[in-house]
């Protein structure tokens, strides 16, 4: 077993270097969990392109309206800009959608009720759903939730729902792409995190510069490596 561990580590070092050679300056490809296309609806097709982004079709949990709301909300939590990938670029919606149909299935009702509260607040305040508001008003809504001033929420409270959406947005930005977000390492690129690096050298650790020696590495690129489980 101990010998195996050493072999395994030696292999991973090699895998990191090999992946680097293969991908050049680019990134190791990750298989992406994609939303299902089959439930695509006319409503989704005709949705406001300003709020629906690249995400098309029905996922595993959210209906189309809720998907658009969550996507828009996450984008205000982590907005994209040129050279700065945001929540849409990272496909945070896909992450949350898959999580709610799996690991976080016990939070489905939390989301349903939270989204209903959000809609009630937006309708009462602006007579429009969240996705139709401009960015400044969306930010005002989120601020009111963060500060506990948004009315119309019962359980979860506005603050609870904000905190959970913020947490899940961060998870979708920064979790390994195997979970369906952090698409093309968007979140890791944003902050300069190199991912699941198995090894850092003494020179790496003493450097005062950005780490650029090898590409970002995700779990699936390690798992695909042939020697891993042999």
């Amino acid at each position: 077993m101990k010998k195996l561990d050493e072999k395994r580590r030696a292999f991973l070092v090699g895998a990191a270097a090999g992946a680097g050679a293969l991908a050049g300056k680019g990134l190791v490809n990750e298989a992406q969990a994609k939303p299902h296309e089959k439930h695509k609806t006319a409503a989704a097709d005709s949705a406001d392109t300003a709020t629906s982004g690249h995400h098309e079709g029905h996922g595993a949990f959210f209906n189309d309206d809720d998907a658009k709301t969550v996507e828009a909300f996450a984008e205000r939590i982590m907005p994209g800009a040129p050279g700065m990938p945001g929540a849409k670029d990272a496909d945070v919606l896909n992450y949350i959608d898959l999580a709610l149909s799996g690991a976080y299935a016990d939070q489905q009702d939390f989301y349903r009720r939270g989204l209903a509260g959000l809609d009630a607040y937006c309708q009462a305040t602006y007579k429009m759903p969240f996705v139709r508001l401009d960015a400044a008003r969306q930010d005002a809504v989120i601020t009111a939730m963060e500060e506990g001033k948004a009315t119309g929420f019962a359980w979860p409270s506005a603050q609870q729902f904000f905190n959970t959406l913020r947490t899940h947005t961060m998870e979708g930005m920064f979790a390994d792409p195997v979970y369906g977000g952090n698409k093309d390492f968007a979140g890791w690129k944003l902050v300069g995190f190199p991912g699941a690096q198995p090894v850092f050298t003494q020179a790496d650790m003493q450097s005062k510069d950005a780490f650029k020696r090898v590409p970002m590495i995700g779990l699936q690129s390690q798992a695909k490596a042939p020697a891993k489980r042999t």
Partner: protein, 574 residues
């Protein structure tokens, strides 16, 4: 329902139970270990921050195994969302940050030392500060065994009374060097070191139970940084899982039962007769044993004894003193953060928890004359979540004043500073107070229908507040001295217990005021041992407790093999 007979049954095979299991099995005793969680393998572990840090994969599921907290006896307790302890064979040593400290000499006599130096009036009247029933010198050989048998990397600061450059100048005398040199210094450690030295302080590399070179067939650390909160994917972390459990296996005398939830220590009068536990299939099983060792995390030490009450011990087994569950302590954290425009820190490299340390303001290592508090804290450099990935950072790095925690300004802050920040933390001692305690929650039950452990605790007492304020100022001084562009304080916690819970089955010299003796042996039932940080009469210092837990476990195992076995009965006469 199965019934088995054995020499020894051990409840919980973590930091303490794993050591005792291996040592007693090596001495020829038949040992059964009960473990609530699974037994994992090194190849199970992944570099996956979501799974292990954020979703706490190696910890108890708080929905199935709730623990509750209330700030005082008048408040209703609520469930905590996160537990420190592990939930698998090897316990917390599988995911811990590996800090492996010996306490200072005077930590074992905190009450006497305080009275001698500052007078009895310096001790808060409501504190139950006491001396330990053993000395540093008593424990030194067992610290030594733990460091060598498990594998700790570090630099001695005091070899047999001679100060050694590069180590901790406040260290208690040790018989020999660490078995391995310290881990390599990263940029966070180097930055912290330079700032602390400018202030005339004494930084040194923290001792960690991680291999800095090949050790006992295990490979050297590869500095991946998926360390605190994670199981080590190459087995370089000297956890009980990869050290003592394989050792126990080779004896042929050790049997591990996983998925076993122990719910009662059985006893007849003043003798423990074994334990009862639920199996993974819900079955109700019994083990009869000559010797019962209770060694789960502190919540379950107290809870299990409370659940095991009898006619003779109506207030909980082994609780004739009435001290069971009392004197709960936890380290109190203060944090300061710094960013650097002129360099990257890249704190996501290297074993993540407290990398470099200052012992100058810990314990009684500085003069408290003129200060309104006693005891101190360990200062070290660490990432925001102890673990350094981007999820941990997003969840735990408080923004500097004026920066929001979402939106474009937040994104810009993270994009710029994720690679340019470090945290400086004070892990400070908590004096014991009798009314800080664990009991059974009357409202919350776990997945087995057992009452949840309930903590009643609030660290915000005058002595603790004054100490935290003092240490926050020190943290800021150190951070500024590192040449940081920006320095800011994290808000303090709201009274809830932080890391490293201790107390509940206090060790002492007097059966009237303690639950166990210096060998972690129950005063009331001599064939019952309760081992772990639940026995700590004081926190000792701001140092992490694990190596002291492990040294005490070696001491207990040694006493059982060399004394108790020859003459079963009380090892200390009351």
């Amino acid at each position: 329902m199965a019934t088995e007979k054995t020499d020894v049954v051990i409840v919980g095979v973590g930091a303490a139970g794993g050591i005792i299991a291996a040592e007693l099995a090596k001495a020829g005793m038949k040992v059964i270990g009960l473990e609530r969680g699974p037994r994992l393998k090194t190849e199970d572990f992944q570099l996956d921050e979501l799974r292990y840090f954020q979703r706490l994969d190696l910890r108890p599921n708080p929905k199935r195994q709730p623990v509750t907290w209330r700030p005082n006896a008048n408040a209703r307790a609520n469930r905590t969302n996160e537990q420190n302890n592990g939930n698998q064979a090897g316990g917390g040593t599988v995911h811990y940050g590996t800090l492996s400290w010996r306490m200072h000499e005077s930590d074992f006599r905190a009450r006497s030392a305080t009275v001698e130096r500052y007078g009895a009036a310096a001790i808060p009247q409501d504190s139950s500060l006491v001396d330990w029933p053993l000395s540093y010198a008593d424990l030194e050989p067992f610290y030594d065994r733990a460091e060598y048998e498990l594998g700790v990397s570090g630099k001695a600061g005091n070899l047999k009374g001679q100060k050694v450059d590069g180590g901790n100048p406040h260290e208690a005398p040790r018989a020999r060097e660490y078995p391995m040199p310290p881990l390599q210094v990263d940029q966070a450690g180097a930055t912290f070191e330079s700032g602390a030295k400018k202030l005339g302080l004494h930084p040194f590399p923290s001792p960690r139970a991680i291999t800095s070179q090949t050790y006992q067939g295990r490979p050297a650390c590869s500095y991946c940084s998926f360390c605190q909160s994670f199981g080590c994917f190459i087995g370089a972390k000297s956890s009980i899982l990869v050290t003592k459990l394989p050792e126990a296996d080779t004896t042929g005398n050790f049997k591990l039962i996983t998925g076993a939830m122990c719910y009662r220590v059985n006893s007849k009068d003043d003798r423990a007769t074994g334990v009862s536990y639920y199996g993974p299939d819900g079955s109700d099983n019994t083990i009869e044993a000559e010797l019962v060792i209770v060694a789960p995390f502190i919540y379950d030490n107290t809870r299990l004894l409370l659940l095991s009450k009898t006619e003779k011990f109506p207030n909980g087994l082994a609780n004739s003193s009435g001290q069971l569950g009392r004197h709960l302590m936890a380290h109190i954290g203060a944090r300061v953060f710094a960013t650097y425009d002129d360099r990257r820190i890249n704190i996501f490299m290297g074993p993540s928890a407290q990398r470099h340390t200052l012992d100058d303001f810990n314990a009684d290592n500085f003069d408290h004359g003129g200060l309104s508090f006693i005891r101190g804290g360990q200062i070290s450099v660490a990432p925001a979540a102890l673990e350094a990935g981007p999820i941990g950072t997003a969840m735990n790095l408080p923004m500097p004043p004026g920066t929001p925690r979402w939106g474009a300004a937040y994104r810009d802050f993270m994009a710029k500073n994720f690679t340019r920040y470090l945290g400086i933390t004070a892990q400070t001692e908590n004096l014991p107070y009798a009314d800080q305690m664990i009991d059974l929650d009357p409202n919350e039950r776990d997945a087995w229908g057992l009452p949840a452990p309930r903590m009643t605790y609030d660290w915000r007492r005058p002595n603790e507040r004054a100490r935290i304020e003092y240490l926050q100022n020190k943290l800021e001084e150190v951070a500024r001295a590192t040449g940081a562009t920006k320095v800011w304080r994290a808000p303090l916690g709201q009274g809830a217990p932080g890391a490293h819970h201790e107390g509940g089955t206090r060790m002492g010299s007097d059966p009237k005021t303690s639950v166990v003796n210096r060998y972690s042996q129950s005063w009331d039932l001599p064939n019952l041992f309760v081992v772990g940080s639940s026995t700590f009469p004081t926190m000792g210092s701001g140092f992490n407790p694990t190596l002291t837990i492990q040294a005490l476990a070696y001491l207990t195992a040694d006493a059982i093999v060399n004394k108790y076995r020859k003459s079963p009965g009380a090892l200390v006469q009351a």
